[in-house]
Homo-oligomer: 276 residues x 2
DNA sequence: GGCACCGATACCCGGCGGGTATCGGTACGG
DNA sequence: CCGTACCGATACCCGCCGGGTATCGGTGCC
């Protein structure tokens, strides 16, 4: 199976429409029909149930869609990592959520830089959920992820740190003077909505936010409240109050990296991280 | 990057010889040279340092070799899983080491079969180390692996069971009457040698074995001794004695599956396993 | 310095990817 | 109930690319 065929298949499977898929791919519809037909013939598998009005995925087609996406990601990652290795020489790209685990990251980078045999590390800060994609498609070599918020599926991980969560409230909020709170008591607050993997926001009442800076500002303005890991207490503006929430899920910070990329430099980074 | 180019590259990178690589690929040498050249030009990366006598991988080339192998595995897995989905209908292939975790497996399969919505499960028994490959290249959907013996890198896992290890000795062996043993005391015994990933055996004195049946027989004959998980005590022949070895590493049985393959059937199997 | 080895280059052919034109079946509206 | 619009499949043509053979050119060894 060639990657071109796979890309064509994924386009049709996503559009469920040969014409639109062809347009998206920048080719005409007939070659696309032929390519899919040939792919089906070579695999010996019917991928689409189609009559001249509708196109549907078969069960086997659904399998190829999810597996094929992963395979295309892997090919793209190989390409990107190769280019990076050539252009930037040795060196790692480390990605983490903006505004999270700042101290841990600083300690890690210092400790790693002090190791003999370490290589330069570029740090990439990005919005929540983006790290996964960067790690998967080869733009980054390692990431700090926070379970249970981030999915670590498909990555190798080492746990670094576990912490509880606190409610983050504007000073003067009625609940701000409590010594601790329960999740149930926070149900009515304007909790923020984060974008999903496609950058879209779920429905709901709370304000839509893109990063922690926005969130902190909105809380200071009294327009939001949030439940966040304890460690954000380190760098808070005035006007914000934290209250422990013992029954919130504990947050585990992990260092994650793509499997099969066990370069010496990455191995050293992981080893350094686990020793912290 | 097309998978053909990637396959060509991997062949050359492994052989470090265009002629032999071409022969392995079943094509002539000139098209192979051209293909590699075009790949390098398109990537904008020098993959091989070559003069007319020797071929060497550049740093970028090494990256593409390991990443490319993983990508090719992913493509192959996609293909195989699609074919399986088409030919065998729904249904899972479960792979485990022959002779290990037998009871756990039986309980799991019974419990899963009793679940509403479960699908037929084919069980594949194979030699140690083979499971990883079967899971990675799409011939299997899930596996029972045993840490720290099996590598779980690149798989999603759930821990099922942890146990200590015992020494397995022929009855009448001088150490067989001890109430417990330490690893150091076992150093002089003829411990078996298992094949590595390529099916080759490491150097050493102990007998080369391929599966647990062979091992048990050799121990009964007094030609071997081994350190094995406690659970093998369940189905032992006569003439074998077990002695606890408290300082041997504990063995964790995990259920492992490839990421991105979260079908309903597989999800149910994993859920059932974690409830055992 | 001659020779053997090996990757690159030159040149040719056939198949495949891509295009346009058109067919054939299906659902919808009048 | 028929016309029509829509959409995937088919027919046919072209140009490029993957593959082949022949040969060149550089390198290390005897």
């Amino acid at each position: 199976m060639e990657t071109r065929e796979l890309r064509y298949f994924v386009a049709v499977a996503e559009e469920l429409h040969f014409g639109r898929a062809a347009q998206r791919l920048g080719i005409a519809q007939p070659p696309l029909s032929r390519a899919i037909g040939r792919l089906e013939r070579r695999l010996g598998v019917t991928l689409f149930a189609r009559n001249s009005r509708t196109v549907t995925l078969t069960a086997a087609g659904s399998v190829l869609l999810s597996e094929g996406r992963a395979a295309l990601d892997a090919v793209e990652a190989a390409e990107r990592r190769t280019r990076r290795a050539f252009e930037n020489g040795p060196g790692l790209v480390f990605v983490t959520k903006a505004g999270a685990s700042g101290e841990l990251l600083a300690k890690l980078l210092d400790a790693y830089a002090a190791e003999p045999g370490s290589v330069p590390v570029d740090v990439l800060l990005c919005g929540p959920g983006e790290q996964e994609r960067l790690l998967r498609d080869g733009r980054a070599d390692a990431a700090l992820l926070h379970r249970p918020f981030d999915s670590t599926t498909g990555f190798d991980v080492e746990e670094l740190h576990t912490e509880g969560q606190v409610a983050l409230l504007p000073a003067g909020h009625p609940l701000a003077s409590s010594s601790q709170l329960r999740m149930a008591e926070l149900a009515g607050l304007p909790l923020p909505r984060w974008p999903d993997r496609e950058g879209r926001y779920p429905d709901g009442r709370g304000p839509a936010v893109r990063d922690h800076t926005q969130l902190l500002q909105l809380i200071a303005l009294g327009r939001a409240a949030a439940v966040v890991p304890e460690s954000v207490r380190g760098h808070l503006h005035d006007g914000l109050v934290t209250v422990p929430v013992p029954d919130a899920p504990r947050v585990t910070t992990v260092i994650a990296w793509p499997p099969h990329s066990r370069s010496r430099a990455l191995g050293l980074l992981v080893a350094t991280a686990t020793r912290l």
